[in-house]
Symmetry: C3
Subunit: 331 residues, 3 copies
């Protein structure tokens, strides 16, 4: 009885999807390396039509490092990309689980490298002014997702959409954070329950030629980030991008708590290729500025596969030059 249920034939309703990106890169401060430019995903997702404009949605997304075959960062959750289930209807979309915060999800559309974590891109540092969405997650976690969260998106109306993420106060295995406390009495002890619910809000506009975002987030350690960003297509093949953001860490830092950053750039389709370019600065209080310049090229072999080449220079107290080539394949 138990057995026959386990083997009951089921019409599969799962789409298996993902991408793999591997290349060769050289930073001026390290040896030649084989590695990724974009994040790598192997996912499982589906949509069920419940009738009356209502849908059930789920998505489970493995993130992995193809150069060494491990899950991303060796220690991150199996479904680091996301693990969410929810409903979509006239009221919008509500989902539960783990995923990108509203701010992090919206902001990558305004970054010239589309949010890739490569040294060539701006997303992981300048586009978020050095901000970490989840300082109370385990060591080695990424910095832009929330576990134990509820995600809400309004329907898109006239190009406008509002996105809200709220996380619970559950402890999630953080290492101690000294903050304004002391080593003996840290502001956030290990595996701390939160004092307040982290939340993230973004409003986006997508008008074809013009795009815009205004976003605000407060994380588990009550650091806040706000960001404003815009994009413009003066020509169908050219997209100009810009963002400004400010981080406030005064809840855990007694001084020099503010960091400002801005990024500007473009995507320019030329024949079967795309030219990427960008420049940005990050200005943390009382610490050396970071100035970053990048240029890249993607050569499309198909709608699913391209070759790429990047070059960047990041100047701060020290400077790093970076060169990379590789292949991206979507499946």
């Amino acid at each position: 009885m138990a057995l026959s249920a386990g083997y009951a034939a089921a019409q599969s309703s799962v789409t298996v999807y993902g991408n793999i990106d591997v290349g060769v890169s050289k930073r001026s401060d390290t040896t030649l390396a084989v590695g990724r430019r974009d994040n790598n995903r192997l996912g499982f997702k589906g949509v069920e039509d419940l009738g009356g404009d209502l849908k059930a949605l789920f998505q489970l997304e493995i993130r992995y490092d193809p150069d060494i075959g491990t899950i991303e960062g060796k220690t991150r959750p199996l479904f680091q990309g996301q693990s969410r289930v929810g409903l979509q209807g006239a009221f919008g979309t509500v989902r539960f689980g783990r995923g990108l915060t509203a701010l992090q999800d919206s902001s990558s559309a305004f970054e010239p490298w589309r949010g890739v974590p490569s040294t060539a891109g701006f997303q992981t540092d300048l586009t978020v002014a050095g901000y970490n969405s989840q300082p109370l997650d385990p060591a080695g976690s990424s910095a832009n997702r929330w576990s134990n969260a509820v995600f809400y998106n309004t329907p898109e109306q006239g190009g406008f959409q509002l996105n809200v993420t709220v996380a619970s106060k559950e402890a999630n295995g953080n290492p101690a954070i000294v903050g304004r406390g002391s080593l003996a009495n840290p502001q956030y002890p290990a595996n701390a329950t939160l004092d307040s619910n982290p939340y993230s809000v973004s409003g986006t506009y997508n008008g074809g030629m013009v795009g815009a975002m205004l976003a605000y987030e407060r994380n588990a350690a009550e650091t806040t980030l706000w960001s404003v960003a815009g994009s413009l297509k003066p020509h169908p093949d050219v997209k100009l991008l810009a963002s400004y953001q400010k981080q406030d860490q005064s809840h855990t830092m007694a001084s020099n708590a503010d960091t400002k950053a801005w990024v500007t750039g473009l995507n320019w389709n030329v024949g079967v290729g795309t030219i990427l370019a960008g420049y940005g600065q990050k200005s943390p209080d009382g610490v050396a500025k970071t100035k970053q310049t990048c240029v890249g090229y993607e050569y499309n072999l198909s709608t699913r596969t391209y070759l790429y080449a990047d070059a960047s220079r990041r100047a701060s107290a020290a400077s790093v030059n970076f060169y990379g080539v590789g292949i991206f394949h979507k499946f």
Copy 2:
């Protein structure tokens, strides 16, 4: 040569299946939490027809925690659900690998919450009288599966089926268990090879209106559990459920080794919903009784998706009240 073999086109014979269940819950002793009610699965399975009534079967089942994106419990095996291969024919079904023991697999059909691990259900505590099927597995393992095992099920004849599981004596990384030994000389040292083979037997009857189970199991530390259970459908929409079980830990405990428990409840289909209710008690020798009362409701959005709400009270030395709502989606 080696390469072409690797990329040979293969007609896929795999069904990808699973479910995701996330909700919001509040226990009287913890903060509001986002988490699961049911177990969460992402599986791969298939059946090959070998002709002459013979079939080959396999099933690999990932278990995961969607609220934080990790594999179940962060440290359990990737295929915590099961990893088995075998043959099915006129002789029944024989499988090898890791999976639920015969007793654990059969007993969840007689539990009013169908065996979910939620605080609202009875399965993980009362339905098995606090018994752990695998005390010599690594710390953090679940309590109802065997690695290194052979699983046999007779064909179902006239509603009757016999299920037998036997595990090898292989060590599987257990922490030391003091038992009747001492800290310096524990009864089961770390990573112990077993003294005897664990085995589990269940006989089940499924007669449409009436169901029944009689089961017995002895685990790696020679604790035994027997259980008797029954179900009755006095009306097509009403199922009444009851079970009684007794655990004997005298092999590792010098006194107070017996625990008795019973659970009773019902599932009642009302329109597109189902009402769940149950009450049970666990009586360990020399320790306070546990008394648990639960009520729940499932609202079916489709045959694959439902919303649920639960409330329960568990009273022992201390009492815990629990409330939960969420969504379950099968794919």
Copy 3:
């Protein structure tokens, strides 16, 4: 906007494939065990036609232990089998990521058990003369794959193919290797960056009745291995196999650095079954020889599923007898 992209319907281009092999075995020095004979795989792969004879390829392969439900060896990378992406065209095939080295990939075709890691087979010890392809990988890694590598295969022309693998010098988390250093000053400290690029080359010939391989490899600790192997089909149902290999560990060993080994055997199709047999010797400098004799039988239930039985004797300083039966199923 971000949301709709995530849920965009995508025609899946992924083949899910794999195998599961579980059986029961007895070594003369251990308890009866449930376990694998072959490696176990769950993979995801695809080929995209880019036009003009050009293809994009990817393959992600989970390796797992079905007897206990974990990923292979509990600690290996999730995609231990391989994680690669690349292009195939008139120039051959080039891939990036993690996978078998050219030598390891080519040599299993000349081993009578087709490279299975069972005690009954020769691959993991004699066929490679005890060589480890990746001594600077984390402890518990397998011994025949490279991370951070580029893989190139020429097209097969007249039966000939040349295969080359080169890895980067990136550190990959190795434990310290004393080598010719001392405990205080090991030749390879923990997580060492390499002194030189590991590389592996194999040339293979596949002429139907005759097969041959010549291969050479130098690993991260500059140990070298060369191997020559051949196969002959005097009858369509009989394949004779032989290989000779020599390992040189003089870069890390002051004396007795050479190990020689040879393996010979056959595969003989008899009706719906196959008889496997082999004999081999390994002769490390200054250490006792290993002599191994194996015989096995595979009974095919279909092209995807077979039952097997093996018996082997491995004699070195001590002797081990081994007996195993089980089932292999491909999906």
